[in-house]
């Protein structure tokens, strides 16, 4: 789809960005991103992608809105308490940008739905708090050769990397096991998760529009206490069960 005059009017200020331009904006318009869990990370991320004019968002998020969501899940509202989170995500994003298409799934990522969710997307954003979900999504992205932007945070720290199957380490290279004692509930200030979300959104916009440098083979670590950013070089894990023989890509078929 070509850009319309209305598109140019709405996205004028970002079309001025060097490297983005009309061509980049058109790529964004013709792109689809999957965001799994649309909470403290996924919510602000979805908001930034919607505002930037991504053509279609696929959102997967289960459960109903709780009081304890409201400090960081900025797509949720007090009048939404007790109702499905995904409804509020759709409503808030459509208010922000009615031009885009939104497909919703009122479940978190599972073995049963992961293939279909990933297959419909050009780019996947992993914003889930549970390692089981993240590693499942990573496995499917490697299998389908889809790029994955992985953002995570804990307390006053965050991290971010962009995974391109066959070219970079995958998430299982970084986390070969589910860490013991991990709890779904952990310390989060909304501004920290939103910072990581917007850095992830920038990675996605650059990747889809084709400009700038990506955090490939690199882990960005952000320390909100000291306001330090560090870039860490990361490597494939030769014995990785997901992408260990993924050079060239796609050799190892993960279990279906």
């Amino acid at each position: 789809m070509e850009l319309t005059d209305r598109d140019r009017a709405i996205y004028e200020w970002q079309i001025w960005v060097n490297g983005l331009g009309d061509a980049g904006q058109q790529k964004l318009k013709n792109s689809t991103a999957l965001i799994t869990r649309v909470g403290g990370l996924g919510g602000p991320l979805a908001q930034s992608l919607a505002a930037a004019g991504l053509g279609k968002l696929i959102l997967a998020h289960g459960g109903n809105t709780k009081h304890s969501d409201l400090n960081r899940q900025i797509l949720q509202t007090h009048d939404q308490l007790g109702k499905p989170r995904i409804e509020s995500c759709r409503r808030r994003l459509m208010e922000l940008n009615p031009q885009i298409e939104i497909e919703t799934c009122g479940e978190n990522v599972t073995e049963a739905n992961v293939r279909g969710l990933v297959s419909g997307a050009d780019l996947v954003f992993d914003c889930a708090p549970l390692f089981e979900e993240r590693l499942l999504l990573n496995r499917e992205c490697v299998r389908q050769q889809k790029p994955l932007v992985d953002a995570a945070m804990f307390e006053m720290e965050g991290q971010l990397t962009t995974i391109i199957p066959g070219q970079t380490p995958c998430l299982a290279c970084l986390y070969p096991e589910i860490p013991p004692g991990w709890k779904r509930e952990f310390p989060v200030i909304g501004a920290v998760s939103a910072t990581m979300a917007n850095l992830a959104a920038l990675e996605g916009l650059k990747l889809l529009a084709g400009f700038g440098e990506l955090l490939t083979n690199t882990l960005l670590i952000f320390d909100a206490r000291s306001m330090d950013f560090r870039k860490i070089a990361i490597q494939h894990r030769p014995d990785c069960v997901v992408c260990g023989s993924c050079r060239p890509p796609g050799i190892q078929e993960p279990p279906s």
Binding site: Y175, V192, A197
Partner: protein, 114 residues
Amino acid sequence: MPALQAFHDSQRPLASIFQVKITVQLLGQARQLSPTEQVILHVEEGASVDELVPQLLAGAPDSLHLILSERSNEVQQLRRSVMAIRNNETIEPSARDLLKDGDEVSLLPPMSGG
């Protein structure tokens, strides 16, 4: 961990020509579980990150042991899910002869979505 640092300091030999000084920085969940975010260790030249772990965790709370370490053949080593970073590059925890005097090693347990 301050007590832990004092213990390490008391064990330091007067002549440490075969030892190197490594600053270990704890990140993420490990940082939250520890009263101090960094510990200075004096270890044998050539030591691997795995070999730092028993010293690092001597006297540390069980919760920190659980996050950072595991046992393999009765030897305490860095847990596989924890990333070892030397200065600004990840390194294999079992590799010897990589750590140099004055290096900073960061230990990063996994973190997840918010």
